[in-house]
């Protein structure tokens, strides 16, 4: 991509533009910091492209409006930040149960409760382990730059349609509000695209039998059967869509595992330490499905792993599962909107190295 094709925008706006270019023509949202730029951007852009923008009365209503739009086969998105995403869990469970595609963006902030408006990664459990009620998983993508806010949102719609599932973009206040040059891939989709390929969509029962969108299965064994079908789909997603990125991991004694904005920070720590230590970075790109195998393949049996998160330690539980030897899995994190700085991470790495 030539540099002149890039525009300087915030991560929130890049995410919104990614949705527009992916052919999404339905947005419903509710104001919450630090993702407000995204809502106002969509308000402007949906008018420009002839799409639908609704400022909903609540997060519950916003996700249900997206549910309704998705029923008709349209690409639809809702965005929020942590406390708002908690409210949306009802709708996300229904979307998963009804097998409806949708994209949900969480620009995470500090919690629990109202918390604060500073960046955080404390919604990892909620995003990757279910969030709402029932046995389900959603695909969770973790961008770490404004460019990826665009690219991953664009891709999220394809994944959502392919598997008929909600897909979450898990960003944070830092990614949402910082500005970077972003290359815009111009849309190859029209708003109608995909609808013809969605025979399940509710478009009026003309020349076909009626369609029903449902998650209620009261007949004996019917819900278990439905769950079996969902689980089969989740296994297919795990097989085909797990993604991660290795950075200077070859022959590393110490590997930092970090996602999103923390991966950016960890990368520069690796660069600063590289001439002293055999250190690399492994960055999960899909948080669900989690790249267990990719982590395992980096483990020599002596490798030490340092998980860096803006949380009290959430993803580290999956890293422990991947490595299977808790003594070699270490953690550094800050909570409540505190952002680790490079010095803190480097200090932790050097302390680990001394114990090697």
């Amino acid at each position: 991509m030539k540099k002149k094709n890039r525009i300087l925008i915030t991560g929130n706006e890049a995410c919104g533009e990614g949705a527009i270019q992916a052919g999404c023509r339905f947005y419903a949202g509710y104001p919450i910091t630090p993702q407000n730029e995204l809502t106002s951007y969509m308000s402007k852009r949906m008018d420009e492209v002839g799409g639908v923008f609704i400022q909903a009365e609540s997060e519950l209503a916003a996700v249900s409006m997206v549910f309704g739009a998705s029923c008709t086969g349209r690409r639809a998105i809702t965005t929020s930040s942590s406390p708002g995403i908690s409210l949306k869990q009802e709708g996300i469970s229904y979307l998963a149960g009804c097998e409806l595609p949708a994209v949900i963006v969480n620009i995470m902030r500090g919690g629990p409760g109202l918390g604060n408006i500073a960046p955080s990664q404390a919604d990892y459990f909620q995003a990757t382990k279910g969030g709402g009620h029932g046995d389900y998983r959603i695909i969770v993508l973790a961008p770490s730059s404004c460019q990826e806010m665009f690219d991953f949102t664009y891709r999220a719609f394809d994944l959502a349609d392919k598997y008929r599932t909600p897909v979450m973009i898990l960003g944070d206040g830092m990614l949402g509000q910082m500005m970077e040059p972003v290359a815009i891939k111009h849309g190859r989709r029209t708003p109608d695209d995909g609808r013809r390929a969605k025979p399940w969509a509710l478009t009026g029962a003309r020349d076909r039998k009626r369609n029903i969108v449902r998650s209620f299965f009261i007949g004996e064994g019917a819900l278990e059967e439905h769950n079996r079908k969902l689980q089969k789909k989740f296994r297919e997603i795990q097989k085909a869509e797990t993604g991660s990125e290795n950075y200077k991991t070859k022959n590393s004694d110490i590997i930092i595992i970090a996602y999103g904005s923390m991966a950016r920070l960890a990368k520069s720590c690796v660069d600063r330490l590289k001439n002293k230590l055999n250190i690399g970075l492994m960055r999960p790109i899909t948080l669900w499905p989690f790249p267990y195998k990719a982590i395992k393949s980096l483990d020599t049996g002596k490798t030490r792993f340092l998980t860096v998160e803006m949380s009290a330690g959430q993803m580290v539980e999956d890293v422990r599962l991947a490595v299977g030897d808790d003594k070699r899995v270490h953690f550094f994190g800050r909570t409540g909107g505190g952002i680790p700085d490079e010095e803190e991470i480097i200090k932790k790495v050097l302390a680990l190295n001394r114990k090697l």
């Binding site: 409006m65 309704g68 029923c71 639809a76 029903i212 209620f216």
Partner: protein, 233 residues
Amino acid sequence: MTDAATHYCAGCGHGILHRVVCEVIDELGIKEKTIAVAPVGCAVIAYDYWAFDTAEAAHGRTPAVATGIKRTLPEKIVFTYQGDGDLAAIGTAEIIHAANRGENITVIFVNNGVYGMTGGQMAPTTLLKQKTQTTLCGRDNRRDGNPLKISEMIAILDGARYVERTSMHNPGHVLKTKKAIKKAFEIQLKNEGFSMVEVLTTCPTYWALSPVAACKRIEQEVVKAYPLGVLKE
């Protein structure tokens, strides 16, 4: 309608009301462009009986789902079918705001004054002194609040184009209900905005009355708390 036998109790208003809605849809010739949204409540599996496209909504979010459908397919006819718990308790925000936005949808609001599906608990529309599973000594306004006249609340909103309350307690009123529902759909067909018909119906099972006595109760008691007629036109 499909040929499926309904699961409703003897004397329940849902069966007749389903038929009334379906007759209106057939008479208007809109079956092939109708998309319904079913509630959580006794009518959740209404889609087993309806021959048009139907979505299920989370409890109370019914008008929000209908909004999403109608805004993406404005040429289709979209209606919600909601009970009093769905519409007037857990979904109060959604119905008020859908009406206030003037969404061009039709709402069939089924008021029988109890939660049927969960076993006969108090609804926001339960009458004072009415006994339910959660008001064993009768609804007491100091403990349980007052019957909610949500149609009157909606009627004062600028976005509401048409609001009427009807009843199902005898054949004459069933016909009046049908007329009101037809009018509501016609308003949507003319793109005139939000239309809602509140229909008073019976729940003999959780009123602990025979179907005939339940109809009598509407005539003698319920219509006094919820007067019939056009609330907004």
